[in-house]
């Protein structure tokens, strides 16, 4: 599996350059780092003393292991890392990490994280949420966090089912799904979380799979480096209420023929040699996979541009997959730089304080209270 980020050098710039090579700050630029000469933290340092209570075989275990193994690599002081979650199986996540954490209420984690990240630039703030939490009850907060571009990373565990309430269809369940609350099939049209995020002005959108730890680790790294809201959709298996939902793309034999690994700057391909196909834009503008040998005559080869400001092609890629999971894009769909909301809020305050000559004191406050029209009674 190819890496989706470019090599970075801290030696040259002092801070990590953005993956775009632009001089914009790294996602963690304002978060205190560990002493490079001190003891290196391990995965164990990030495991809390709480017993993990997901169902046996739940995809959440693999994601937790991946995150615990990944966090030391950030090189941050763990007291400066905060995980905020909503409600649902995935939202128990913070209890199992030895960082600061808040298990909040259904759907509201992006709003709470927005307040925290804006008030505290020195924190690395993560949101853990699920398809019901983020896309149903919390849909409004999700889209507004994305458009504002608050500096936080949202991990959306998508198992296409309500697990904690024991098996109702979710906003990502396929139409016709038989569940406890849809005994003759769901009539709801599902959301495509990546399409939704792209439509909501997201600056970083990626997708990964719970059992592909190497890929997920790389995506997490790029997401943490991104300054702004990073949305990572993680396909996650629920062994109890929606078991095997992603088997078609996890099966080693079928995987290659179904997964589309998005690599910035490279043609969009599916399948393995010798039957590998490449995506072309045909005469009517539609995207179609054709055999690589025939690509030149079929149309314009689509080269993935995750950094393009116009999200049209990224959106088109998010629509490649239908209900059949026959061509599922994985990787980073979009990765662009845009000023963040929290940096903007703090900059306005800093400017006002600087213009006034420093933080307000008692005299400044008194002047505020007095206003312009006062009178004195002797």
């Amino acid at each position: 599996m190819s890496l989706t980020t470019q090599p970075r050098s801290r030696r040259e710039t002092g801070v990590d350059p953005s993956p775009l090579g632009m001089p914009l700050p790294h996602g963690l630029a304002s978060v205190p780092r560990l002493d490079p000469d001190g003891p290196a933290p391990t995965r164990k340092d990030y495991a809390s003393d709480q017993e993990v209570r997901w169902c046996p075989g739940c995809g959440d275990y693999i994601i937790l292991n991946t995150v615990q193994a990944f966090l030391p690599a950030l090189g941050l002081r763990k007291e400066n890392i905060v995980f905020v979650s909503g409600i649902g199986c995935s939202s128990r996540f913070p209890y199992y990490l030895d960082t600061f954490g808040m298990h909040s209420i259904h759907g509201r984690a992006p709003a709470i994280a927005t307040g925290l990240a804006t008030a505290r630039p020195d924190l690395s703030v993560w949101v853990v949420t699920g398809d019901g939490d983020a896309l149903s009850i919390g849909g409004n907060h999700l889209i507004h966090a994305l458009r504002r571009n608050v500096n936080l990373t949202i991990l959306l565990f998508n198992n296409r089912i309500y697990g904690l309430t024991k098996g109702q269809y979710s906003p990502t369940s396929e139409q016709g799904k038989i569940t406890k609350s849809s005994p003759v099939g769901s009539v709801d049209t599902p959301f495509n979380p990546v399409s939704l995020a792209l439509g909501a002005e997201a600056t970083f959108v990626a997708r990964s799979l719970d059992n592909d730890r190497a890929h997920l680790g790389e995506i997490l790294k790029a997401a943490a480096a991104h300054r702004g809201t990073a949305l990572v959709e993680i396909y996650q298996n629920c062994p109890i209420f929606n078991d095997g939902a992603f088997d078609a793309i996890k099966d080693r034999d079928q995987q290659a023929a179904r997964l589309v690994h998005l690599v910035h700057g490279e043609p969009v391909r599916i399948g393995a040699e010798p039957s590998r196909q490449v995506l072309v834009r045909v005469a009517d503008g539609a995207l179609r996979f054709v055999a690589e040998a025939e690509a030149a005559g079929a149309g314009e080869v689509v080269v993935h541009d995750a950094h393009a400001d116009d999200p049209s092609q990224q959106f088109a890629l998010s629509r490649l997959d239908g209900a059949g999971m026959t061509q599922v894009p994985m990787g980073i769909f979009r990765q662009v730089e845009r000023p963040t909301y929290d940096d903007g809020v703090r900059a306005q305050i800093d400017a006002a304080v600087t213009t006034a000559g420093g933080p307000a004191d008692d005299a400044d406050l008194h002047a505020l209270l007095a206003g312009k029209d006062t009178w004195t009674v002797e």
Partner: protein, 644 residues
């Protein structure tokens, strides 16, 4: 045009008579108190006129109280009853407790304003109308078959028919660049000038105000000032206004004063509270009438480090505030009743997390959208009980516009000292009403310094140092406020019931009982830090206690004063804290033969007093969208006294 008021501000009577060589006017008649109501179309600038008259009145040292009253529609159809906007001002040479029951003077800018307000105007009061607006069309719009100006129906009032619009236009004849419409728009300043003459108010600060408002449009600025001066001259030179009046300054405690509305005072109180606590103020808020001015005011205070985040909805507003509090800031959210309903679940989370949070509810008429621009007190029970589970929350209520400042500081004190969400119940009357405010000495405000946790405070099962997020301060029962970024204090909190001390998830039955009891005991314990309920009972032997909360303070105090002036005996008490009640509340309410509870709701406090103290509290409950009048409360008190 030479104008006869001194540049220093207050127009000396002698100057007026001396500098005018055509008319010799008598010296102004001295009055103790005056209630003026300006009424017109929403677009006529009545709120601005009222605000300016208030500022000038404050400047001459009168005590005052104001009542803006405007429709929810930004611009209802012109000239119609739904479009009428009014501003009432009560000023006096003594302390003023209410905006006044009934106006002594009504300025009606059109037939709709006359029709909507005449019923409040006592017979014999002064009525000034803009006759230009009494056209057949405008009369028909509000259902007048004949002009009330000529059919004799206004004979019981002291009517001054003034062609306000045409005189204004005439006075601005020299302004060739302005359209007739522009000139007509200055008529509110003509009315302002006329009333300023009648009540001997200076106009200097209003000139300065206009200068800052219209500085970029010199023509408009000059026209407004000219209209204002023309209004003054009109009063002085027209026989129709025989007398000017003056109201002497009220004796007030020494100090520097300003006039302030409740919403501004509340915003400033939050800033002062955060300043004294050494915390950054973070407001998460969604615009809603009548609370939006708090968001507006705070968003202009970046110089004070105040962060305002306009959220996508009410729920996000409080979520942002709670997230900021988790990070060690003072999280605040501001709203009105419908928003409080939406925030309920997050308030419950804050109860469980035991983090500081201030929730401002500027109450308005309900249910549902209700009366967005009118006042009511019907959120008391929502604030107290409107959450799932046992979720006790302290409640603080300001009693006057200026008192909003102190109430906000008190809310910050409780929230930070006890690590709890606190609800402040203001209302639409307090929000937009104003009164003089004796500026506080910042250094004398309560010291609210907060100490964050820095060290591990316990040991784990194997005896190693550990942080226990739910270990409590033995005195306040508050838990440590351990903010992210503090090494060694990494911990997880959440809405699931937590084990006592460790904060780990717990479904243990006894633990849930214990944690529920602890949360209640923590809130109950606040009573030991608040002042006992004070009773005002000058005769010392009253049978009737009138007890209220929030913005009814003024009308209740004014009514009690009137009853006592008539020889009646009545005691009053006013609650600032609704949860917990002051410790002596039960003793006080049980000590009277009758307890009368006036409230602008269906009887919330009466219900609580009955339930809590087993007394036969009598409710005087009205929801008319307006503050109580002194008169109706006098009647209610007398009726209760007679039955006692």
């Amino acid at each position: 045009m030479a104008l006869p008021w001194s540049a220093a501000g207050y127009p000396a009577t002698s100057e007026v008579t001396m500098t005018n060589d055509t008319v010799t006017r008598p010296a102004p008649t001295r009055l103790r108190r005056v209630v003026i109501r300006f009424a017109g179309d929403s677009g006529d600038g009545m709120q601005l006129t009222g605000d300016r008259f208030t500022a000038e009145t404050a400047g001459v040292g009168n005590d005052l109280s104001t009542l803006p009253n405007f429709p929810a529609e930004i611009r209802a159809p012109q000239g119609t009853l739904p479009g009428v906007s009014s501003f009432q001002l009560h000023f006096a040479d003594h302390d003023v407790l209410t905006p006044g029951d009934a106006p002594d003077v009504l300025v009606a800018m059109n037939p709709a304003a006359l029709k909507a307000n005449l019923a409040d105007l006592p017979r014999g009061a002064t009525l000034i109308v803009d006759t230009d607006e009494f056209s057949a069309r405008n009369l028909a719009k509000v259902g007048y078959a004949a002009s009330p100006l000529t059919d004799g129906s206004l004979d019981s009032w002291h009517l001054h028919p003034v062609p306000l619009t045409s005189i204004t236009v005439e006075a601005l004849a020299g302004f060739e660049t302005l359209s007739r419409k522009d000139k007509e728009r200055a008529k509110n300043m003509f009315a302002f000038g006329l009333l300023s003459w009648m009540y001997s108010r200076p106009m200097e600060t209003t000139k300065a105000f206009l200068q800052s408002k219209f500085g970029a449009k010199p023509d408009i600025l000059a026209a407004n000032i000219a209209a204002m001066e023309a209004g003054w001259s009109y009063g002085e030179t027209t026989e129709s206004f025989a007398t000017a009046y003056e109201v002497a300054p009220a004796p007030m405690p020494s100090g520097t004063y300003r006039n302030i509305t409740g919403n501004t005072a509340l915003a400033y109180g939050l800033v002062a509270g955060a300043h004294r606590a050494g915390l950054r103020l973070v407001l998460g808020s969604y615009p809603i009438t009548p609370a939006s001015d708090i968001l507006h005011t705070l968003s202009g205070l970046k110089r004070f480090g105040v962060m305002t985040l306009q959220a996508e909805d009410e729920i996000a507003g409080i979520g942002i505030a709670l997230g900021a509090s988790f990070g060690g800031a003072l999280g605040v959210t501001s709203t009105s009743g419908p928003g409080l309903a939406l925030k309920a679940e997050t308030i419950g989370l804050a109860v469980s997390l035991e983090l500081p949070l201030v929730i401002i509810d500027v109450q308005r008429g309900g249910p549902s959208t209700g009366l967005p621009t009118k006042t009511e007190q019907a959120d008391l029970l929502q604030a107290m009980f409107g959450r799932n589970g046992e979720a006790p929350v302290p409640i603080v209520a300001p009693r006057s516009p200026a008192d909003c400042f102190d109430a906000a500081i008190e809310a910050v004190r409780i929230a930070t000292a006890y690590r709890t969400p606190v609800v402040v119940l203001s209302d639409g009357y307090l929000a937009n009403g104003s009164e003089p405010w004796n500026l506080p000495d910042i250094a004398a405000l309560p010291d609210l310094t907060v100490e964050f946790a820095t060290e591990r405070n316990g040991v784990d099962e194997s005896g190693r140092p550990a942080f226990h997020p739910y270990a409590r301060d033995p005195k306040t029962l508050a838990r440590p406020w351990a903010v992210p970024g503090t090494a060694g204090l990494e911990h997880r909190i959440g809405g699931i019931e937590k084990a006592d001390i460790t904060g780990n998830i717990s479904y243990d039955p006894d633990n849930h009982q214990r944690m529920t009891d602890l949360r209640q005991a923590k809130v109950d314990g606040i009573a030991s830090t608040i002042a006992p309920l004070a009773v005002d009972d000058p005769s010392g032997d009253a049978d009737v206690l009138v007890i209220g909360w929030g913005s009814t303070y003024g009308p209740i105090a004014a009514a009690a004063r009137e009853v006592r002036a008539g020889g009646g005996r009545v005691a009053t008490a006013h609650l600032r804290h609704l949860a917990p009640f002051p410790a002596n509340t039960g003793d006080i309410v049980r000590g009277y033969r009758r307890v009368l509870v006036p409230e602008m709701n269906g009887g919330h406090l009466a219900l609580l007093l009955r339930a809590r103290f087993l007394i036969d509290a009598q409710s005087y409950a009205r929801v008319r969208g307006l503050p109580f009048t002194t008169g109706e409360l006098v009647d209610a008190i007398l009726a209760t006294t007679e039955s006692a």
